[in-house]
Amino acid sequence: MSGALSRGTLVIDVERCKGCELCIPACKPRVLTMTTDKRNEMGYFYPELEPGCTACHACALICPDFVFQVWRYDEAVAVEEEGSER
Amino acid sequence: MSAELLEGSEALAKAMISAGCRFFAGYPMTPFTEVLEGMAEHLPEVGGTCVNAESELEAVGMAWGAAAGGARAATGSVGQGLSLMQESIAEMCFARLPLVVLNMARGQGDYFQATRGGGHGDYRTIALAPADLTEAVSLIQQAFYFADKFRNPVLFMGDYYLAHVIEAVDIGPVDFEALPDKDWLLDGSTSGSGTARIISPLMPVKRNAEVFVEYGDYLETSGDKIAAIENGMEPLFESGHCEDADYVVVSYGTPARIIRYAVDQLRSEGVRVGFFRPISLWPFPSAALTEATRTAKAVGVYELNAGQMVDDVRLSLRDKVVESIGGISFDDSGFGIAPELTPARVEARIREEMANLSNEVDA
C-alpha cells in the first residue's frame, strides 16, 4: 500500500494497548497491523500504522482502551514522499 | 394552623408534607397503605410527587433517586416490606443519602430490624417511635431533619394504632436549626464541568478528585458514620414517676401510651412505679435510662414481641434486674392489634411483677 494517500494519521499510545486486535478489521483501508515481535510493557502486541489512513476514526471508536488519537490532515499527504519525514 | 380532626395516617402524610417532603413512593400494605393514600392525595397539592410503586424494592429505589436529586423523600411499608428494602437501606447509608422510611409495623417484632439494621455491613439508622399522634406529627418532621443533617436514612416506627387513631392535631411546620445546602445533589449541572458529582455507595468522589478514596478505605469509614450520629444527636426519651420508683416499666410506641396511662393510675393508688419510654430507639437513651432507674429495684420491659428491646435495656443497665414483661399478642387481622394491650391487663401485669419483686425481696 506504499504510495497511498493519507488523509489522516494517528498517535498510538501503545502502552495502553491490550492487544485485542479489534482495531485491525475495523480499519477499512487496512492500514493497521499488529506487531508480531515488539510488545509493550504489559507484554502485549500492538498495532502500527501504515500509509493510507482516512481519519475515519473507526479504530478509535472500537478500541476498548482508547489507544488512538486521530488526526485529519488539512490536506491529504502522499506518503511515499512524506512518510519518512516524521 | 389550628387543630384538625385527622386519622393518624392522614396526619402523618400532612406532617411529612409540612416538613418539606416532596417525593414519596410506596406499595400498599396495611397499615402503611393508609399513609400512602394520604400522600397520594395531598402531595400533588403542593407540587410534590407520589408514586404508587410496583413493589417495595422499586419504591425504595425511586425514593433513593429522588433523594439523590435533592428532594426530601420518603418511603415505607410494614416490617415485611422493609425486609425487602434492607439491601437498599443499608447501601443508602453507605451512599450517604438522607431518606425517611416509615415502618407502620404490625406488632413490635421489628425492633431488631430497626435498631440493628436488618441489612448487611456496618450501618445504623436513627429509629424514632412516637407514642401518640401529637408526638408523631412533630417527630416525623424531625425525622427529615435528622436524615438531612446526618445524610443517613431515618426510620419512623408507627403501627396500626397510630395509623388509625383519630385525634385533633396541629400540623404546623416545626422549626429546626438551619442545615447547609445540599451541595452534593444531582441535577446535571456539574456534568461536563470537569468536576461532575457522584453519589455512590462504593466511593464518595470521582477518580479525579483531589483526594481520591479507595474502596477499601471507604468501607472502613462506615464506623465513623455511625459514630457521627451517636455523637451528633441526643437520644430522645420520656419518663414519668421515676424519681422514687421501686419499679420502672420501659416501653415504646403505642404500648407505652397505655403503660403511661396504667402507671398514672397505679401512682394515683400510691404504687411506686415509674415509666420510661425511649423515643429514639437508636441511638438508645442509655444514660437517661440509667438515671431514671436509679432507685428502681427492678426494671420491666413491656414490648409486644418475644423480647428484643430488652437487650438494649440490659446493655444499658448492666447491674440491674431486667425482665421481659410483654409478649407477642395478635388478633386475627394480623395487623398488629394486640388483645393483651389494654389498660387493665397492663396494669395487672405490672402489679403481678411488683408483687413478685417484693416477695423476692422478702425472701
Binding site: - | L5, H164, I258, Y261
Partner: protein
C-alpha cells in the same frame, strides 16, 4: 369528664362512619376527641367496632379502653365482647330486630329498629347512622344540628353524594327517640 362510646357491628363501613361523625361533631362543639376503630379478622365482612372518647381537656384515655360509658350495638355477634366493656351504669343503644342476643344490661337502655328504619327509607346500609341519630337524641352527647352539619365533611370526596342520605338517616333516628334518656354531660356541662 371523659365519655367513652363504643360502636360495634358487622361488616361494612357504617359503624366507622357513625363513629367518625360522632367524633367530628363533638369536636365541632368544642370538645376534645379521640377515636379508634378496628376491623375483626383479615377477611372482609368481619366484625368492626370503634371507640370514641370525648372530653373537655387534654384526654388521658388511650385509644384502647376497658370500660366505656356508652354503647351502640348494631349486631348481636359482637355483643359478648362489647357487653364486658359497658359500665353497669352506662347507656346502651340496641339495633332492634337485627340484634338477637340476650341483653342483661342493668343500666339505661334503648332499643330501636335502626336497620329497619334505614331499610324502610331505602338505605339499608345506613342503619348505623340512624342509630347515631337516636343515640344523640337519647344522650345529648352532641346536637343533631351539628351532626347534620358535618355529614359531608366526614365523607371522602368520592362519596359525598351519600351525605344527604346520611343526614336523613340521622334525622330519622333522632326523630325515633322521644327525648333524652341518659344525659351525657348534664345540662349544665354542655359546651355552648
Amino acid at each position: 369528664m371523659e365519655r367513652e362510646i363504643l360502636l360495634s357491628g358487622i361488616g361494612g363501613q357504617g359503624v366507622q362512619l357513625a363513629a367518625r361523625s360522632l367524633a367530628q361533631a363533638a369536636m365541632r362543639e368544642g370538645r376534645r376527641v379521640l377515636m379508634f376503630g378496628t376491623y375483626g379478622g383479615m377477611m372482609r365482612g368481619g366484625d368492626t367496632d370503634a371507640t370514641v372518647v370525648i372530653g373537655e381537656d387534654s384526654l388521658m384515655t388511650p385509644p384502647v379502653v376497658d370500660r366505656v360509658w356508652g354503647v351502640i350495638a348494631m349486631h348481636h355477634l359482637s355483643w359478648p365482647a362489647v357487653s364486658e366493656k359497658l359500665r353497669s351504669d352506662g347507656f346502651l343503644l340496641l339495633n332492634d330486630k337485627v340484634f338477637q342476643a340476650e341483653n342483661s344490661h342493668p343500666g339505661p337502655c334503648l332499643s330501636i329498629g335502626a336497620t329497619a328504619i334505614a331499610t324502610e327509607a331505602e338505605m339499608p346500609q345506613a342503619g348505623s347512622m340512624v342509630a347515631l341519630g337516636a343515640f344523640a337524641a337519647a344522650t345529648n352527647i352532641v346536637r343533631l344540628e351539628t351532626l347534620l352539619d358535618i355529614a359531608e365533611e366526614v365523607l371522602p370526596s368520592y362519596r359525598s353524594q351519600f351525605a344527604e342520605g346520611n343526614r336523613k338517616a340521622m334525622q330519622l333516628g333522632h326523630d325515633a327517640v322521644s327525648g333524652s334518656i341518659c344525659e351525657a354531660w348534664g345540662v349544665a356541662e354542655a359546651v355552648s
